[in-house]
Symmetry: C2
Subunit: 153 residues, 2 copies
DNA sequence: GCAATCAGTTGCATTTTGCTACCAATCAGG
DNA sequence: CCTGATTGGTAGCAAAATGCAACTGATTGC
């Protein structure tokens, strides 16, 4: 699909806000879990179904939508199975979003002592904490940032 | 509310995965937009209603849920208005998630040349790109990381 | 060929969402 | 005090999304 094709027929919740548009594309209950599993090696319909436990018809619909939206690519399988779903560049680029959610969940959605899965690098070590920074590398927060509306000079 | 109270009565989609738990807490269509607006200064019911355009009954429900889940705090207003909703520490900590979504949206959800709002620091400059790294600061991707399941040694 | 498995689709019940109207409390003016 | 406007919701109902179970059609293994 062409880049432009992703933008036809979409009706955005809040046109000029990138957060709203991202949520329009992957902001439902299941899409990011599908992306998470694709990042962790899931490829076939059955892979996704087993890992997420999502209903088959909804999974079918979500895979189709994610392909339409340029986040997954549906490819004929090299052998055997009918096709596989692989992340596009845009899909892989959601890594930062998934990591941010994972780290927030680790900090705020588990009782003390409760176990959870961990994302590790090639050395088996957990990642560094994602920290929003300005262009010089200093940490920024909601108190030191502002949203400026779009304008066409 | 106590820390533990957030975990009572929750039925998690995928207990051991922090991504799934985060989505259980803020993964619906509206919660993160409410959080986004709270980060940008919204405080009252009306603020949120006008900025998001969400239906009043749903907004009412989402605000209640976000308070229950420890992301917003409902405080009596200093004067006049009945109460205000302010982010808790956990809510403010969602900043990295919102920034990651904003940056992804900027890269992938706008046609070339299309305008959008921008998040800037105190100097008016856009933030640096969030980049997942290992503990030494080297960039990691989905190809160089793995999810390891929970285990109790 | 025959059974099993995979990748979906279809139909229907349940749940969630959204719209509109309504209501209660405050507030400002006179 | 009375009136009207604004804020912060709730109630009822229609529409949409979701989930479950059963079914289909192609492929694979034996």
């Amino acid at each position: 699909m062409t880049h432009a094709a992703r933008f036809d027929g979409m009706d955005w919740t809040d046109a000029p806000c990138p957060v709203a548009r991202t949520l329009d594309l992957v902001g439902d209950r299941w899409s990011l879990l599908i992306v998470r599993d694709a990042m962790d090696g899931a490829r076939s319909f059955g892979d996704f179904q087993h890992r997420t436990g999502i209903a088959r018809n909804i999974l079918s619909d979500r895979l189709r939508r994610l392909v339409e939206r340029g986040i997954l690519d549906r490819q004929p399988a090299p052998s055997g199975r009918r096709q596989v779903y692989v992340l596009t560049e845009a899909g892989r680029d959601l890594f930062a979003v998934v990591v941010a959610m994972r780290q927030w969940g680790e900090r705020h959605a588990f009782a003390p002592g409760e176990v959870h899965s961990v994302l590790v690098d090639d050395d088996g070590l957990p990642l560094a904490e994602l920290r929003p920074t300005d262009s010089h590398g200093s940490t920024v927060t909601t108190d030191t940032t502002t949203v400026v509306p779009p304008h066409d000079d």
